[in-house]
C-alpha cells in the first residue's frame, strides 16, 4: 500500500515559509504537520502545521539539525490533546525528488513509533520536501510496516501534484 496525502495550499505555504527561515545554529529547520485519517486507510489529510520554536532545538555535533525533548513532548501532547497525527517535516533547497539521509532513516522511525505509542489509531510519519517534490514514510493504523508516499495533492482553488 502507498499513501495519498492531501494538503491545503495555505498549510504547505506556511510550512515552506517557516522551514526556510535561518536558525541561530541549526542547519535546517523542522516542523510538524498535523494530519487526520479519512475513511480510507491509504488517504490522509493534513490539517495544520506547527512551528518548532527556536529554543526547542539543541546543538548536536553529529547532526545538522536536532530537536530536543521539549519539541517532542509538544508534538506528543498535540496527538493526545487534539487527536491529530504528527508528520515530522523538513525541506531541501533543490528541485527534484528529495531523499532521506541515513540519520533520517535511523532516527525518524523511532520518533514516529513514539507518536504511535500515544495513539496508534492515527497516521504519523516523516517527510522531506524539495521545491518541486516530496518524499515520505508513514505509519498507518493497523499496519506494522511503514508505507511510502504515492502522491501529494496540494489543494486550494487548484490541485497541484507533488
Amino acid at each position: 500500500m502507498k499513501l495519498t496525502l492531501r494538503i491545503p495550499w495555505v498549510v504547505l505555504s506556511e510550512a515552506r515559509q517557516d522551514l526556510v527561515r535561518p536558525h541561530p545554529f541549526a542547519y535546517e529547520r523542522v516542523g510538524f504537520f498535523r494530519c487526520r485519517p479519512t475513511g480510507r486507510p491509504d488517504l490522509v489529510v493534513v490539517t495544520g502545521y506547527d512551528v518548532v520554536p527556536d529554543d526547542h532545538y539543541v546543538r548536536d555535533t553529529m547532526a545538522a539539525t536536532c530537536i530536543g525533548g521539549d519539541a517532542i513532548r509538544s508534538a506528543l501532547q498535540r496527538v493526545l490533546t487534539h487527536k491529530v497525527g504528527q508528520i515530522h517535516v523538513h525541506q531541501h533547497e533543490h528541485r527534484g525528488r528529495p531523499g532521506p539521509s541515513s540519520t533520517d532513516l535511523e532516527d525518524q522511525p523511532r520518533l514516529v513509533k513514539s507518536f504511535r505509542n500515544v495513539d496508534s489509531e492515527l497516521p504519523h510519519g516523516f517527510m522531506i520536501l524539495s521545491e518541486t517534490h516530496a518524499w515520505g514514510s508513514f505509519s498507518l493504523p493497523g499496519l506494522r510496516r511503514l508505507v511510502g508516499l504515492n502522491s501529494i495533492s496540494v489543494v486550494s482553488g487548484r490541485v497541484e501534484f507533488l
Partner: protein, 265 residues
C-alpha cells in the same frame, strides 16, 4: 504522442498527463451530469467515479446526453459508461448504482467532484464530504419558475467550492432556511421542468473550471467561484454575492478535515 489532443496543447506541456492522471467524480448522471461525462471523456480524462441509482425514462430523453430511444429502462450509469468507453476504451470507471452516501470510498480518492444533485440537502452533504477530504467540489444546477402569467424564469448556477475558501453556505447559496423549507416540501415537489441547453451551458462552464483547476492554464484560478446563469437572457456572470464572500470559510475550518472525531460514551 497521439494526435488526438493536439488542439488542446495550449493547456500546458504537462496538461494531458495531469488530465489522464486525475480522478474525477460525477454524482448524478442526469441532464447535467451526462454533459459533464461527455465533455470530460472528450478531453481525455481516464479515471472516473460515477454515481446514479436511476434508470433512464422517456421523460429524460429531452436532455440525457448519450441516451437514445433504445435506452429507456437502461441504467443511467450504463449510458455514461458507454459514452466514456466510446472515447476512452481504457478508462478506469468506478460505476456505482447507489446513492453516493452508501458507497463513498471511490469518491474519496477523487481530485475533483462534480455535483449534479437535485436538492440543497444532497448538495450540502456532498460539499461537507468534499471539505472533509480536501477535494474541490463543483456544483451545477438549474431551475425554472413560473409566477402567474409572467414568462417562465430560467436560472442556474456553477459554484466551485475549494477547501478553506468560501463554501456554498458562505456564498449564501445554501442556508438553514432553504434546507428547512426543502425538508418541509419533501415528497411534494413533483417533476421539475428541465431542458438540455442550460444544462449544456452550466456543464461546459463547470468542465472549464475543472480543467483550469487541474492544469492551471489560465494562471488566474480563483479559489471561490460562483457563476450565475440567466436562462432568459443567456448571460453567465459572476454572482453578486461573491463580492461579499469571506476569504476564509466560516463553516468548514481546515482543522476539521478528515474523519470526524467520535467519542463513545
Amino acid at each position: 504522442m497521439s494526435t488526438k489532443y493536439q488542439r488542446q496543447l495550449f493547456l500546458g506541456e504537462t496538461s494531458q498527463s495531469i488530465i489522464e492522471w486525475a480522478v474525477i467524480g460525477v454524482v448524478g448522471l442526469g441532464g447535467g451530469g451526462s454533459h459533464i461525462v461527455q465533455q470530460t471523456a472528450h478531453i481525455g480524462f481516464q479515471n472516473y467515479a460515477l454515481y446514479d441509482p436511476q434508470t433512464a425514462e422517456d421523460t429524460n430523453l429531452n436532455r440525457l446526453v448519450g441516451a437514445t430511444i433504445r435506452d429507456v429502462g437502461r441504467e443511467k450509469l450504463k449510458i455514461s459508461k458507454r459514452l466514456i468507453r466510446g472515447l476512452q476504451p481504457k478508462a478506469k470507471i468506478s460505476a456505482n448504482r447507489v446513492r453516493w452516501q452508501e458507497a463513498p470510498e471511490p469518491l474519496m480518492v477523487c481530485d475533483l467532484i462534480f455535483g449534479c444533485a437535485d436538492s440543497f440537502q444532497d448538495r450540502d452533504e456532498l460539499e461537507t464530504f468534499c471539505r472533509r477530504h480536501l477535494i474541490i467540489y463543483i456544483d451545477i444546477g438549474m431551475d425554472i419558475h413560473q409566477v402567474d402569467d409572467e414568462p417562465p424564469r430560467m436560472a442556474g448556477q456553477v459554484i466551485l467550492s475549494a477547501p478553506g475558501h468560501a463554501c456554498m453556505k458562505c456564498l449564501g447559496f445554501i442556508s438553514p432556511e432553504k434546507l428547512a423549507m426543502e425538508a418541509q416540501k419533501y415528497g411534494v415537489a413533483g417533476p421539475r421542468p428541465q431542458v438540455i441547453w442550460p444544462n449544456g451551458i452550466l456543464a461546459s462552464s463547470a468542465v472549464g473550471l475543472a480543467v483550469d483547476a487541474l492544469t492551471g492554464w489560465t494562471r488566474k484560478m480563483r479559489a471561490s467561484i460562483y457563476l450565475s446563469y440567466d436562462g432568459n437572457t443567456g448571460f453567465v456572470s459572476e454572482h453578486v454575492l461573491l463580492q461579499y464572500a469571506p476569504k476564509v470559510c466560516q463553516h468548514y475550518p481546515l482543522a476539521d478535515a478528515g474523519s470526524p472525531q467520535i467519542r463513545t460514551l
